[in-house]
């Protein structure tokens, strides 16, 4: 029912388009990096050393996760444009099973996320340390799961409603929540202190936070690692995220494209 060749051909098309936007992407990377440095310089001397010994590296790990999140999310915008131009009719007519089509598109987002994240991860290797092979595999798995989750959610948003303004609003809203109600900018201890219970839980189980925590554990950013987290726990949570959103995204994509 699922032919790997078909899936890889779908992905190749999305990557070809990704490549066309490479200068735009390079701009985005540069901007992210600039943000990283500015933030770090500003805050490095302001944060409590007992919580975060090095704020620059703290943020750097956060930005690495944001990178894959942002580029995996880009697939949703394109799916939205395809629907608006009725291009989707073409995809639906091709000799592919619906499952291949849906998962192909989701995995395209995954691959985009991974590609875009790679330079940031390499930067971490250079700035901090080269982790063990097992830890590198953890990083790879976590990034794959995060990218898959983001790709699926973005596709779900673009297909859940035909109202394009609504799509844009939902996309910004999701982006906002995942980005700011997370541990990217502030340490878990601070979130626990300052955020009300619901927000704390969102921040805790947010797939971006989970990935960032994993990076921080692996790159030893924390003075004392937050309790209750091990690499495998995090990967399990991320896998649940990825599975649920993948089924949701795939289901909505197919159901709402077929009229």
């Amino acid at each position: 029912m699922i032919n790997i060749r078909n899936i890889s051909i779908i992905i190749s098309r999305d990557l070809q388009r990704f490549w066309k936007y490479r200068w735009w992407l390079a701009g985005l990377i540069t901007m992210n990096l600039a943000d990283l440095f500015i933030f770090a310089l500003l805050f490095n001397n302001m944060v409590r050393r007992d919580l975060i010994p090095n704020y620059f590296l703290f943020i750097a790990t956060g930005i690495a996760a944001i990178a894959s999140f942002a580029s995996a999310f880009s697939i949703g915008r394109e799916v939205g444009v395809e629907i608006r131009r009725n291009y989707t009719q073409y995809l639906l007519s091709l000799p592919l099973s619906r499952i291949e089509l849906a998962f192909g598109r989701i995995l395209s987002g995954t691959v985009r996320g991974l590609i875009y994240q790679t330079p940031f991860i390499i930067l971490l290797f250079i700035l901090i340390d080269l982790p063990s092979p097992l830890q590198i595999i953890y990083i790879l798995i976590a990034s794959t799961l995060l990218s898959t989750t983001m790709s699926s959610i973005s596709i779900a948003i673009s297909t859940a409603t035909r109202n394009f303004d609504m799509q844009a609003t939902l996309r910004s809203f999701t982006y906002f929540i995942l980005f700011f109600i997370s541990n990217v900018f502030y340490p878990d201890a601070l979130i626990r202190q300052r955020f009300p219970g619901v927000l704390y839980n969102i921040a805790y189980y947010n797939p971006v936070s989970l990935t960032v925590s994993l990076f921080r554990i692996i790159f030893k950013i924390y003075a004392t690692p937050p309790s209750g987290y091990s690499e495998l726990h995090i990967i399990m949570y991320l896998a649940i995220w990825a599975l649920i959103s993948m089924f949701m995204g795939g289901y909505l994509y197919i159901r709402n494209l077929e009229k």
Partner: protein
Amino acid sequence: MSSGRDVAISIRNFVKRFGDIVAVRGLNLDIYDREIFGLLGPNGSGKSTTMLTIATVYRPTEGDIYVYGKSVSRESDEVRKYVGIAFQEPKAMWIDKPIEILTWHARVIGYSMSDARRVVREVMEMLDLWEQRNKMFSELSGGTRKKVEVAKVLIQRPRVAIFDEPTAQLDVIAKHIVWKAIKELSREGSTVIVATNEMYEAEALSERIGIIYKGELKGLGTPAELKDKIPGGDIIEIHIEGSLDPLTKQMLAEKLGAYKIDHNNGLIRIYVDKGEEKITPAIEMLSNKVKIKMISMKEPSLDDVFMFFTGARLGE
């Protein structure tokens, strides 16, 4: 008739609604293996809706369509292996280039990379597209975009090839190239369906024609059969000044034994048998009621066939 031929596509009580709009209302139609079938009707008749449903892009609201025995509603994955479609509105993203669009298409329908390159080049050269291969889709003219769309199916050579208004926006030379390519495809064994709102195209291409109007099939047969189906084989056309009152129209019909009389904008069309014997009585009856400007008699053309079956002109 043509019974005994293998059926490629069987459309059964097919209804398609979009909200309140009924695009197709209860279509029953068999399309034979390896024939070129023309679906003829003005804009909004339900041609595209029917073709998109055969291609599994839409789902039937009621009824079903079978493609070589596979149901579009229940076995759409199987149906798609048989069908290739050139859409009425060319499908491509604006930043893509024709060469990329077609090479990817060739890949996704199953060619290896090297075969894809070769076949794409052949088809692009045949359609005179090769020079434009590296332009962005947004920069191409309407006709060129249409050719890229048609090229997809010519590359694919599917068992069921669907062309939705393949030559709209094409110049005469390009039209003939495309028609030739479609006929070639059929000779090689594809079943071809062509939707068109041009009578000339339907007659130039099709072995059989289905006349569709307002979502219903109004007529079906070879061009010759369709012409024969008009009961009054002959049409007397009378151009008059002023208009014809309903009573005179009715008397005229009775006196001449006409099957049907159409009257609009000063043109009376009388469908009769043995037209040559009916001209004189017609003139006698009308001359003291209206001013006759011109009178003529002709055999039906496909335009007349269309008019007879739908009561409308193409393009209306």
